[in-house]
Symmetry: C2
Subunit: 224 residues, 2 copies
DNA sequence: CAGAAATCGATAGCAATACTATCATTGTAA
DNA sequence: TTACAATGATAGTATTGCTATCGATTTCTG
């Protein structure tokens, strides 16, 4: 089977759809490499252009600015993750098992998914850990939100919230608990690797421990 | 009583101690105003200088760059908050009551504390909600961490972790739970106001609800 | 009180960043 | 074959981030 995954992205995210051309796909691919390598702060369209062998102006034909590009790849990631969750929890009846599966998908550095050509999901996962919240922690959140740029993130959160409700229909904070485990899957990972004293996993730096923590957290809330 | 609070800040945070001069204090004061007004992205030393009637070079005598200035005011905030926690939980025996107090201190927009002259804690609280995580979500975390720039944050986290352990000595994730409630006190607030569908408080936008959520979360974990 | 040092204001300048505009070229579809 | 979309090439501008220098003034010190 050689299936290509494709997510139809919100058109406000780009000026010209990067999935529709070779250059566009290269932009995405090398953005991920460069942002992963040097961080979003140091990332510029000029460096990206040189890296791909095109020009700065060429990149600007696809994306308004580097922030939009970050929002684009984040949105792509959340879409991909929602798909993973839907796929991996399909046909599972027990919502508790579903929720455990979700936590693992959130917390583990994924292996590169072959069905998506030019995107390295494992690098993307690490980018989202470090840069993900910068997509919405801006003065323009509300505007961007009106343009539905964060829809994939919100959809994933809603999906997880619903699984929580399946586990316990009268739980009062399904959405907040969902956004908490999404964010904490990433933050605890970041802390573990860079500010270990903020976690209890500093010694072994093992993602399994994060999963254990999140499971304990979620099921304590649900069962209390 | 007219007591002035003063926190001795890590010397790596600045080039010249801003607490020691009129200009320095103005820099802090107006940084807070400007970052609150336009966000950290749009904040520049040039604008700050114009705003307080000095020159760009004048600001650079105090702070290496705007990121360091942000780390400075964040460190100041965490020191102030740790002091608040210590003060407000002093003489309380019951760790459960202590922990509830902590959650309120984390989640509520504080009133301006008169004992600190040039710092408006309420603005600062809102800045930390939006910009706080940008202090460490950089390529330089580890370096900055070595310079102990995040010590106040880590101290607060350790303090809260210890209260959690007082509540339940065998709880396995005191530090991770502590960092979770710190971060979530802020993120849920941000989500509530800007991406409400990620929370369960979108309708009333009431900070009390965040407190209720966090209390439910923490004590579920501790008591399960 | 004199001299030294610190502080600040003023100005200049530079390299990098963020972005826009124009025009020629090439490949492709009507 | 014409038309047009996509790219490459080049230029240019305003802003940002940062460093350097030079007096003038204030403050400290002996």
């Amino acid at each position: 089977m050689d299936i290509q995954l494709h997510f139809k992205m919100n058109e406000k995210l780009f000026l010209k759809d990067p999935e529709q051309s070779e250059l566009g796909r290269k932009i995405i691919q090398h953005s991920i490499l460069l942002i992963h390598q040097n961080g979003f702060e140091a990332f510029t369209f000029k460096k990206l252009a040189e890296h791909i062998g095109t020009t700065e102006a060429g990149i600007y034909r696809y994306f308004e600015n580097k922030h939009r590009l970050l929002v684009y790849i984040a949105a792509w990631y959340w879409s991909w993750l929602e798909y993973q969750v839907a796929f991996q929890t399909h046909n599972i009846q027990d919502p508790v098992i579903k929720l455990k599966k979700v936590i693992k998908l959130l917390a583990f550095s994924v292996e590169d998914d072959l069905s998506t050509h030019h995107v390295d999901e494992s690098l993307l996962h690490q980018i989202i850990i470090t840069e993900g919240s910068k997509t919405y922690l801006t003065r323009r959140v509300s505007e961007d939100n009106k343009d539905r740029l964060f829809k994939p993130y919100k959809d994933l959160c809603a999906m997880i919230g619903n699984i929580i409700l399946e586990c316990r229909p009268d739980y009062r904070y399904p959405k907040s608990l969902a956004s908490t485990i999404i964010e904490m899957a990433h933050f605890q990972n970041f802390f573990m690797n860079h500010l270990p004293s903020l976690t209890d996993f500093g010694n072994d730096k093992n993602e399994l421990k994060i999963v254990a923590f999140l499971e304990d957290l979620v099921f304590s809330c649900i069962r209390s």
